[in-house]
Amino acid sequence: MIAAPEIDLISLAPVLVLSVFTMLVMLIDLFVGKNKSVLVFVALTGLLLAAVSSFAKTDWPVSSFGGSYVVDHMSVFFTMIFCLSSGLAILLSVDYNKRENIRVGEYYSLIMFCTVGMIILASSTDLIMIFLGIEIVSLCLYVLAGIRRGDTRSNEAALKYFLLGAFATGFLLYGMTLLYGATGTTKLAGIAEALSHAEVLSQPILVMGVVLLIAGFGFKVASVPFHMWTPDVYQGAPTPVTAFMAVGPKAAAFAAFFRVFTTAMPELAPTWEVLLSIIAVTTMFVGNLGAIMQTNIKRLLAYSSISHAGYILIAIIAKGSLATSALLFYMLSYTFMTFGAFSIVILLGRAGKENLELEDYSGLGFKAPLLGLAMSVFLLSLGGLPPLAGFVAKFYIFQAALNEGYVILVVLAVLNSAISLYYYLKVIVFMYMKEPKGDFQISLTPITLIIIIIGLIGTVQLGLFPGPVISLAHP
């Protein structure tokens, strides 16, 4: 007979609230017909309430469900990022879905279910829960990537994502199993405890488990050599989904990645540090060099997101509390810049012609000066130029790594940051130094305007006055 663990529903509040609202969205969808704007309203309310309810417990860290779920500083901050990114994704979808004729209400509930999975992922301290969280997120994303059923590109993106995702899940799962077999528990704290004994630490299956875990997580965060799916899926998926994928689920995977490696396996750090350092460096190089060759803006941003995964991996390698806050700050500023950039990508498209080639951006800076300026701000921030958010975020991660003595890693990362400016500036060159090819038909709706303004405020604010957010991100 096993004793049932104590059940603490209050610490699950954001998950429960969001699940209820997701089901509401699905239910209301049955009655509203073609116009889905009421769903958007319900979804945003749900996300807002979920964000608020994550403060239901304030005496952090609160561990519940027999140590498999935790409400702490990191999980609450990540919940905020998830609610923000899902809210932005839903807002971004409103006009896009009208234009591209995506008239399924499930679209919104899938984004919300995905958010539920992300919150679970960032708050779990048990391998089983982390696995479930990853699968909730992934299954929603497979469907979202292929939501344009009639479009072959969308189908292809979904199939590629699905097959490779399921393949990676196999590796992740095998890694978790070996870890469980070697330590005898699935709880992260228990694993850390077991690993402090020398006879457990010397088992060969442990190393294999760690390698497989890195492969599995590496796929979910799109790091080299598990990045092959990223450009294809990002290109084929509907653009708001791409923006969402680049931010929310990636942040969630990083949260779990960080938690598993820094809380469960600090004893094994010498093993995984080397491996992760190699992966981080190759990820940055492949991402940046790959982006240089791209002519499609969505693929360019996909490669850019690969290189950003490389920078964020440095935070995992650095460990420590400074690294935690650097990770949180990075993910928040990445949310603002990415959504800002993608909102402009969406804005330039129109029904039947998405205008995704770099040449379609020729002359944008003259025809629509403010849009061009906004796009430049987002791109330069992604490239890490001061005084924008991207600079502070990178600086903060490098600082954390330098404190731990990873000088070579930081030097290579700074070098990569410089390479990345090349392709971000290439877009800006197209916008300001080439003659416009055709006329832009830009219909700026209030919703898109709001997203761009949120993105701009976030990017500039976090760059100029990072203090308050950094102190929030600091445990």
Binding site: I128, L132, L139, A157, L163, L178
Partner: protein, 100 residues
């Protein structure tokens, strides 16, 4: 009693068969079946560890894996059908609209 190593080797072989299948086969459905073989290989070692450690975590984990695998089947086959309606192929080499 069969020792733990036998189960682990069996599971590792099964897992490798799955991995090889994913890498070699070109039919999306067969690739998908190979992924399922991988998951079941994991289940074998989970149960073996569970029995060997005399616990229940591994069994619970393997149930979760089965549930997730079932959910994955439904999503995966739906995606394959959606693609087949548009392209009338499940050969992965012909699904190549996007490259580099």
């Amino acid at each position: 009693m069969v020792p733990l190593t036998h189960y682990l080797i069996f599971s590792a072989v099964l897992f490798s068969i799955g991995v090889l299948g994913v890498l070699i086969r070109r039919n999306a459905i067969v690739v998908f079946m190979c992924v399922e073989i991988m998951l079941n290989a994991v289940n074998v070692s989970l149960i073996a560890f569970d029995r060997y450690l005399n616990q229940h975590d591994g069994q619970i984990f393997s149930f979760m894996v089965m549930c997730v695998a079932a959910a994955e089947v439904s999503v995966g086959l739906a995606i394959v059908i959606a693609l087949f309606r548009n392209k009338a192929t499940v050969n992965l080499d012909e699904i190549n609209l996007m490259k580099w």
